[in-house]
Amino acid sequence: MTALRQEPLAEEWARQRARRRSSVLARLRSKPVAAFLMCLPLLVLIVGLIIYPFFYSIYLAMLNKRETQVVWLDNFRFLFTMDTFWLVVRTSFLFTFTAVFFKALLGFILALVINTLPTRGQRVWRGVSLVPWVMPLALSTLGWWWIFEPTHSALNWILVELGFAPKSWLADPFWARFSIILVNVWYGTPFFMIMYLAGLKSIPLELFDSASIDGAGPFQQLRFITLPMLKNIIAITMLFSTIVTFANFDIVRVLTRGGPRNETHLFGTFSFRLGIESGDVPLGAAVALVMFPILAVSAFFILRGVRRSVV
């Protein structure tokens, strides 16, 4: 800088450069410009990689198999006449509601139990409980796949030792559905426990104290304090889980690949089978889109619940 000052021209340049720089800085200081620039990557991502693909998938779902012609709703009409499709709908609902119910129930029981322990133990058990949720789902499901193996593995060994007949877990339609639900409950219960435990911690202890002075027993406290106080978090967690469970792919893909005879296909795996493996992209897109209304309704209620809990 000191060297530049000796020459008038260089000095002028330096001044100009400084002015230009300060105007850039000023612009970065102005809120709207900075705000826009900082949100730009996010906007590009949301518009380019979520909103656009969503509408593109609607368009794709209206093409014929070779993607040469627009056939409007023919793909959906075809799906609705397909027995397998209705089987997928039934399985998906059964899977989602059963799994979410048991995850919520077991998660709640575990959260209550952990919350009763001395504080030091709580941390340890909470941490260990999260293991199923931290393992990548496709890989832990691979472990389950081996557990379900009929001749050399653990489950049937236990059954036989207890005097029951061994089961072909993944080949029988009922037990195959049972198995995918079991793995999902194993995977998701820790998440429910964590959310409920955080909820339990947020209930002021005075409420329980004054209730027990008034003579309320543990079950009355559960019924009239804990459950009402946790209502919102229970609802939000279940709705979240509904979306994720409904859209699950990993478990079914690894355990049964939709079998036996398509009895365990969910929307995600069926869409993959049609769209990627059988090369009928439009039909696969149509199957995935059928999920959308259910996802949208859940999302609407989650948003309402989250807003309410913030306010």
Binding site: L45, L60, I114, L130, I147, A154, F240, V244, F272
Partner: protein, 284 residues
């Protein structure tokens, strides 16, 4: 009276520990069984004699050796490590900038965009993988691991932005005013004031980005077909099981090793993870 309260409290605790024990057996049996199998010899896995829940004929590391010398496991591991690192960095940069802007700059439409972030984070991968398949095809990225740099952040960025908004919102506004008076611009303020204060949030967001990316299964399954480009999850599930006789020992060794990085990360940084999880309310 006092004694009866004490004994009742003890009885309650005994019941609690009993319930916890049942849950722990349920939760930890699969990883235990995987680990056990990975250390057993093939003869012992095939054998129908004895109790299968212990190693009785001597432990072996052969399955792990084979994994590194006879399979493409290391290729998958390298691919997953590269992709996860890049996706995590990319997602965090986008999320930090957006979260700062959304939590502090209060521009027109910030509320709508915030809601939009929340809604996009509810979009599951099974809804959009078919259009992505076509789009990645146009870009010539089918069967390339780089395609995942494009699609993995769609699941991660909205979530990380959402948690970070929460963390940034808890930073007192006096800090920004002081910095602005001192002549800082928004970028400097973000880097010098917000990030240091929001370290717990950043750690939680990083962990989420890492775990989601590491566990990604549907996208690599749909977009990648060759071994050279494949990721760890799909590679382990699809290529290690080929053949008529399942090599359970090798399969479990691979699955367990592939699980290790997220589990270790979590073991060391559990508290950040849980606070991020419960503050943002998340997916399961």
């Amino acid at each position: 009276m006092i004694r009866s309260i004490k004994t009742r409290r003890q009885a309650v605790l005994v019941v609690c520990y009993g319930v916890i024990a049942v849950f722990m057996v349920f939760f930890l049996f699969p990883p235990y069984w995987m680990a056990l199998t990975s250390f057993k010899t093939n003869q012992e896995i095939e054998s129908l004699k004895g109790i299968p829940f212990l190693i009785q004929q001597g432990a072996t590391l052969k399955h792990y050796q084979d994994l590194f010398t006879k399979t493409d496991f290391l290729i998958y591991l390298k691919n997953t490590a590269i992709i996860t690192t890049l996706v995590t960095i990319l997602s965090l940069v986008i999320s930090v900038l957006a979260a700062y802007s959304l939590s502090r700059l209060g521009f027109i439409g910030a509320g709508i965009l915030g809601t939009g972030v929340f809604l996009t984070y509810l979009v599951p991968d099974t809804l959009l993988f078919i259009p992505f398949f076509k789009i990645i095809g146009w870009l010539g990225l089918l069967n390339s691991k780089w395609s995942l740099l494009l699609v993995f952040p769609t699941a991660i960025v909205p979530f990380c932005t959402w948690i970070l908004i929460g963390y940034f919102a808890s930073i007192p506004r006096e800090l920004d005013e002081a910095a602005l008076v001192d002549g800082a611009n928004h970028l400097q303020m973000l880097l010098r004031i917000f990030l240091p204060v929001a370290v717990p949030g950043l750690v939680a967001a990083t962990m989420f980005a890492f775990t989601i990316s590491w566990a990604g299964f549907l996208y690599p399954m749909a977009f990648i077909f060759s071994n050279e480009e494949q990721l760890l999850t799909v590679g382990t599930v699809t290529t290690l099981i080929k053949g008529d006789v399942y090599h359970w020992g090798g399969l479990m060794a691979g699955a367990l090793l592939a699980c290790l990085p997220p589990v270790l990360l979590y073991a060391f940084l559990m508290d950040y993870y849980i606070s991020g999880l419960t503050s943002g309310s998340t997916k399961a």
